[in-house]
Amino acid sequence: MTSPPIVLRLSGITKRFGPLVANDSISLTLHKGEVLALLGENGAGKTTLMNILFGHYVADEGSIEAFGQPLPPGSPRAALAAGIGMVHQHFTLADNLSVLDNIAVGTESLWRPRSDRAAAKAKLLDLARRFGLEVRPDTLVGDLSVGERQRAEILKALYRDARVLILDEPTAVLTPQESASLFDTLRRLTADGLAVVFISHKMNEVFAASDTVAVLRGGRLVATRRTAETDREELAELMVGRALKPPTPAPLEPGEPVLTLSGVTVASGHGRPLLDGVDLTVRRRQIVGIAGVSGNGQTALAELVSGLIHPDSGTMALKGEAIGNAEPAEMVRRGVARIPEDRHAAGLVGAMAVWENLIAERYHDPAFQRFGLIRRGAARAYAEEVIEAFDVRCPGPDARTQLLSGGNMQKLILGRTLAHGPDLILASQPTRGLDVGAVSYVHGRLLEARAAGAGVLLISEDLDEILALADGITVAHHGRLTPVLPHGRVSVRQLGLLMAGHWEILPEIVDAA
């Protein structure tokens, strides 16, 4: 049997960002009809490589050939013309345009007075039918679910006659069921002769969808395997560079409640409330995990416990004490450690020094100010202690915070909030975008705080993270929360159904538990 023709050849791609080598002479080939999984931890260089391929970045060394022709670097237009389509992790659709307009925009000549919408629509519907990508062409993108938006993105690439499709972490925003349907689509595409590269750091997806898997670690291509000829253990070791030891939280007896929400509703100003009659209790020595597809109320819940927004009805209590409309400073004073979802935008002031960020939640403390004058010496000394205790890798307390890596920024936030023995920890997406070492550090610290008597509210879109850490799991859907289900009594399949809103299965889970 002759192997199918090569559609894409990357040779010796190297890309440096300052001192960091994001891609180190990577060579890859992709064949017609093949699904290649690009597997690697966050920061391994997967997205950089695909951005070079699609022309967002220019490689320092190396070349790319598409369908036998050299691909000019740095030009997404050339990549599109060569038949390469990319579906980004963060969708690039305009909310205020219809699906059809989003897909057709940019394909028409500027000089044509009128676009031929009927032909465009026919082409779109034909593609949708052929590949089982059900869409509503005239609906506004803003009204679509995440899964539908992704289908629209894929159709956008197909509409431009893509023969190679790149998907960057396509399942990050999908329920397990939606992921399965995506993989089904991928099979139809390859049957039609397309080639697909999908980027992932999740093992089970690699086995569910790929023919070949390429493993990246620290910017290098460490191995390429036929998916059928490898197994999880081998891939995990290749990916991480050492055998993985998942954290094994020792079971602890939960103590008294530290956070109690009763019937909390937060209105959104239009349509469905952000939180809809939420009841939740987090106890000492307990990690409660909130699972759910993003946009189902997790952000509002995090903002509520951070003190940024307040309930429109219902009550919130900390350590049994009802609190009214507490502001962030009040929440800190009451012993809530808050790890924000977006450490760049909400956690840290990048333009300020490390020490200035470390005292940001308690600069009124007499330890750090006298008569309104900052005690810079004391603040720096304190910062040195925290940097040491939380292993923050930085040149010193005076370093500008935006120069730190994501992992070290997160350690900075952990140091700022956990150094004071909190009663409740709100951890919102605490490991998003971190490398494997930083992830295990964060997990270790959360488990440590739990053993020391803190209650932890863990909000994560990464189901594996919740399964690894949580004592109890609740699922968020449309602003509502299921009762807390004890870990071990609920299967991944059941969680997936709950995430998709099939709450009718709740009684059977609760009865079994």
């Binding site: 740095g74 502001e327 962030p328 400073a329 929440m331 935008a345 840290l348 333009a351 940001a360």
Partner: protein, 349 residues
């Protein structure tokens, strides 16, 4: 060509950027000077001489720089908090109004008491003028660029109305001008037989004070955090709204003080041409200084020198003194490019 962010901006680059911008602006404007047929080097030589070539020139430049330091600080303070105060011109006139009302004989106080009273009142008037737009911004998200800019015209019309009516000087021979402030409300001269007055010391002192507040106090700490990342500041528990309103009072107050000092130090009474656009020039001053309170002093002296020097030059050569406006505007544009280049580097391909 593409821009890549720099990980680190060396201090030398930050200091060099305004110098490079000014040199580039002078080079560009040389083309315009050459167009008039005047010899470029001699023109710039006369400009420099007119700005700093004699005791008289130097004191004139510093006199001109005094209000520019204050409006420059007003812009710098506001812009650092991302409060785009374009209304320093109007705030300046409100301060001046307060000065001629209170200092025009209404209060009978000794100089040591009257002067501070008038200054505080003028600053309060300027601050109050910006407070309105700031409240609208934090409460309802109203764009303060529009509101502060349009308030300038409202204030000017108000001043015009008062100068034709209630505040019109009965001894003014019909000119639309206010009665002069009493002697106790006049700022003492700094150098005898020149126009330079002690308002310069007030401006320099405020520049130093603002720098100390910025770096040494929790006020300044909050201001910097809110300016750089209001979301993170709010998350950490800082009173973002209060910081914004505080900044508005401070910024408007500084502009109002500029008006008081122009009236009490230089003009003595209020007319509609008290300020040749000091409020707007303050924006250029602040940008050239990269919003640094101490840098504002240098930038203000530079811009004042351009205006004063261009006047002198235009008397000796067929180059109109409008060249000063062009030079200042070009400097601002060059500074924006230079600032970009300190934060990003250009890469080919």
């Amino acid at each position: 060509m593409r821009l890549e962010p720099r990980e680190h901006t060396p201090l030398a680059a930050r200091l060099l950027a305004p110098v490079a911008a000014v040199v580039a602006a002078l080079a560009l404007c040389a083309l315009l000077v050459a167009w008039t047929g005047a010899p470029v080097l001699r023109a710039y030589g006369l400009l420099l001489e007119g700005a700093a070539g004699s005791r008289f020139a130097l004191t004139e430049t510093l006199t001109r720089a005094t209000p520019l330091i204050l409006t420059g600080l007003a812009a710098a303070v506001a812009f650092r908090a991302k409060l785009w105060n374009i209304g320093a011109e109007g705030q300046l006139y409100m301060g001046a109004l307060a000065a001629v009302v209170l200092g025009g004989g209404m209060l009978d106080l000794p100089a040591w008491l009257l002067l501070p009273t008038v200054m505080i009142a003028g600053a309060a008037a300027g601050g109050a003028t910006l407070l309105g737009p700031a409240v609208l911004k934090v409460r309802f998200g109203v764009d303060e660029v529009v509101t502060t800019l349009l308030l300038n015209f409202i204030v000017l019309l108000l001043v015009s109305m008062l100068l034709e009516g209630a505040l019109k000087d009965p001894m003014g021979m019909g000119w639309p001008q206010s009665a002069p402030v009493v002697e106790a409300a006049e700022l003492p001269k700094l150098v005898e037989r020149t126009r330079l007055h002690t308002g310069l010391l007030v401006a320099l002192g405020l520049s130093a004070l603002l720098w100390l507040i910025d770096t040494r106090t929790i006020w300044g700490y909050e201001n910097r955090a809110v300016g750089a990342n209001p979301r993170a500041a709010a998350f950490a528990g800082m009173p973002v709204t209060r910081v914004m309103l505080r900044t508005a009072l401070l910024s408007g107050g500084l502009a109002g003080l500029a008006g008081v000092i122009e009236v009490c130090g230089l003009k003595g009474y209020l007319t509609l041409d008290l300020s040749p656009g000091f409020g707007y020039s303050g924006i250029v001053v602040a940008m050239l200084a990269q919003l640094h309170p101490v840098g504002v002093v240098g930038a203000a002296v530079f811009i004042a020198g351009i205006f004063v020097g261009a006047d002198a030059m235009s008397r000796a050569m067929p180059v109109p003194n409008y060249i000063a406006d062009v030079l200042v505007a070009t400097s601002l544009l060059c500074m924006l490019v230079a600032g970009l280049l300190t934060r990003y580097r250009l890469r080919r391909g």
